[in-house]
Amino acid sequence: MSLLTVTDLKVSYDGIEALKGINFQVDKGQIVTLIGANGAGKSTILRAISSLVPIKGGSINFDGRDITSLDTVSVVREGIVMVPEGRRVFPNLTVLENLKIGAYLHTNQKEIETNIEHVYQRFPKLKERHWQLAGTLSGGEQQMLAVGRALMARPKLLMMDEPSLGLAPLVVKEIFDIIRRLQQEGITILLIEQNANAALRTSNYAYVLETGRIVMEGPGIELLHDPKITAAYLGQSRQKVQ
């Protein structure tokens, strides 16, 4: 069943069409990935869904409701939460405060406490460092915190913008393990990745973007073995590995 349906989505910046009519959907409980080169419009899609950029045309449906014209805060209230590119934890807030601010729209203190405990169980490092300013964490820890912060909002759909960007290979592996675990816990995930190889392996379904258009789609594993994708996005390194 489709949780998110994007129909003919168009976005322009300063007269330049960044998205030229995008159609895709995310089914409940799945991991869906958008891959594509820099500037293809991947981030713009997430930003349009979160209402951070104005939408020029098309519609966005979420959980049976039209959310096209909602503002950012209302989109979050609907249950769509983003882990932004570059983590964007609040460096001047402690780890614990970063988690609490993730639950900003929630008022049930007990539930918030429970959720903090859940996040701590998932990321014990964060518990150790709960009093530290988030700005002092390493890149990997900041990414854990960004994910933990997003989970505090109890999202129905978690959108992750380049979660592996700039992280050490070992940490990247850990991030993808987390993504799979989140799926097992029933969270639907819309993922954007440069690391097409790992992303396609992890996702149920994937869309390939090129200059504001979806040019290809299919189950992650199928795309992974598609020669065109291999050539364009996976480079030579993967072939060497195999």
Binding site: L52, V76, N92, E97, G102, Y104, A153
Partner: protein, 295 residues
Amino acid sequence: MYDFINANLPYLLAGISVGGQYALIAIGYTMVYGILRLINFAHGDVFTAAAYAMVYMNATLPLYISLPLTIIFTVVLGYTVERVAYKPLRSAPRMSIMISAIGVSYLLQNLMWYITGGLAQQYPTIPWISNTVTILTATTKMVTLITPVLTLVLVLLLVQLINHTKIGMAMRAVSKDFETSRLMGIKIDNVISVTFVIGSFLAAIGSMLYFTNYTAVTPTSGAMPGLKAFVAAVFGGIGSIPGAVIGAFIIGIAENIIKAVGLTTFSDAFTFALLIFVLIFKPTGLFGEVTHEKV
């Protein structure tokens, strides 16, 4: 020794007192800058408007009504300035908002000229705080003693609010990153409004304490303390609340020491020389953070 204290205590007391008054204004500058990266030039005029509100309301109403009404008026004025002149420019270049701020400043000043006819108005005597007291050998008004105490109490409350409440946490988050704050579900316009409300509230209190020491209000009487509070905020490191408070006390005390040594003519010049000095040698001030352009 006794003579020395005798001669200088009044200046020191006056310095601490006026420092507290500058601090209450400076917090408004520094908090707004911390969130919007905007020097709210209209803040000094809001401070003056608070004085006029007191003058006019006290003419017809008893103090226990006119005093809270003045605070409410000032808060509403500060809130309205933000909604009308700054909010529509949220995504405009910073320069546009700054020009808008200068415009609001002149608008308020000229409105005050228009309404008052430019005549100096007698500031009402607030009982008790206008009473005279003698400390050791110095005779002064009660307000001199109350100001630093009240200032510190208000600052402590403010710091509590910022560090230990949900809205305070949101203010700190918004001051770092508008977009991510929105993604957390924070309505940043509300947070910004709260900032202006707090700044105007403190300016209203500061105005009552400040003008108790003076007999008259004119449309430009708030300009000088406003400017000095701004210097204090820059000196302390704009964006930092403790910085603004400490900067304000230092400027207030230094000004009065200069008066004590007989250089009264230069006391204002000192403040602005300090501004130039700070901007050249330590632009981030005492406690200011090095700002990185947001990527």
